[in-house]
Symmetry: C2
DNA sequence: CGGGTTTGTGCAACTAGTTGCATAAGGAGG
DNA sequence: CCTCCTTATGCAACTAGTTGCACAAACCCG
């Protein structure tokens, strides 16, 4: 039940149309909560129906016309409520670790190439995060919202760092393993 | 599409009944692929229908009677295929980071307590993993399957380590933030 | 031996997310 | 002007996972 709240956050940061949101989910927010445009449009409809957001009173919104949304007070309140409410971490789900465990039983043949590919993907992501950090968080700027957003980005950077290290280590282990 | 493969892996490690599997998913495998007993029973039915597993020829399986499954050759082949096939990492989804980003907009009130709670949960999980490491992976044992399984456990340990550090850091930042 | 708890299996309904496709407006180019 | 591409919105069907509940056998206890 987090997509609506992700959308509320994005709209509070800046009122947007469905497509704008989609683009923004492909960047920043999507780094830890991805969504397709179909999901977003559906959710925008629901949120409007619940009175949490409304369309910006622009020209008549015909099909194929842009429709921008902004958050209503009720929406902001709901987001604040949700942010503060205790939530248990959702159960981990990691396919790669599962595959590795399977490989311990059926053999590692073929898996190594995909580990390499994943390593490359994580390296790229890490580089992208570092660029964002350079660009958006120069040293000595510290408005409270910036500090919090920087904290989120740090999590992303450290997670990607972890994965690149772990994958490197895993590949080194593979090299020592007897062929199977 | 990973649950069936998680089950195949578990059954290859040791033929089991639905309830046995449920228990094992609450431990080891569930650490990176959790599943409820309802999911497991449903999936066992499907896998049997597809000829990938079969019930161990025990006594007649009436309702309320244990029914144990073992993996058939076709099942092992399917697992090997799946393990070796290239798969893109599935998009990240982290509610806590999303909430933090929302907090940058609607304020951090109430969030701090839950961060503390999460920190405690991750500490506990980390301690549990370390115990398992002590117990199951003493130094100088290194059959190939053990090395791979140890690698998986290391990922768990390092991830929990990351989260405890990050949460500690986040709480320190919160302490410096002006109240809101 | 009768009633409550535990063990074990399972169905049904719901929620969230994914995939595939439809539709319309507007602009670009021959 | 007609076609093709891009922008923009959206529906429908499907898949995976969650929640709530049902039910039978076995075991345990007074």
């Amino acid at each position: 039940m987090s997509l609506p709240h992700a959308i509320l956050t994005a709209l509070l940061e800046k009122p947007s149309s469905g497509l704008d949101l989609t683009r923004r989910f492909d960047k920043s927010i999507g780094y830890f909560w991805s969504a397709t445009h179909q999901q977003i449009y559906r959710e925008l409809g629901k949120l409007e129906g619940e009175g949490l957001i409304r369309t910006l009173p622009a020209e008549q919104p015909a099909r194929g016309q842009k429709k921008s949304y902004e958050v209503l007070p009720a929406g902001r309140a709901e987001l604040a409520r949700w942010t503060a409410a205790a939530q248990d971490p959702r159960p981990q789900r990691d396919v790669l670790l599962l595959r590795l465990r399977a490989a311990a039983v059926v053999g590692t043949a073929g898996l190594e190439a995909d580990l390499r590919r994943h390593l490359e993907l994580h390296r790229r992501q890490l580089a992208e995060y570092r660029e964002i950090e350079q660009r958006d968080f120069p040293p000595d700027r510290d408005a409270p919202e910036d500090r919090i957003r920087h904290l989120v980005l740090r999590a992303g950077i450290d997670l990607e760092t972890f994965w690149t290290q772990w994958l490197t280590h895993a590949l080194a282990e593979f090299a020592e393993l007897p062929d199977d």
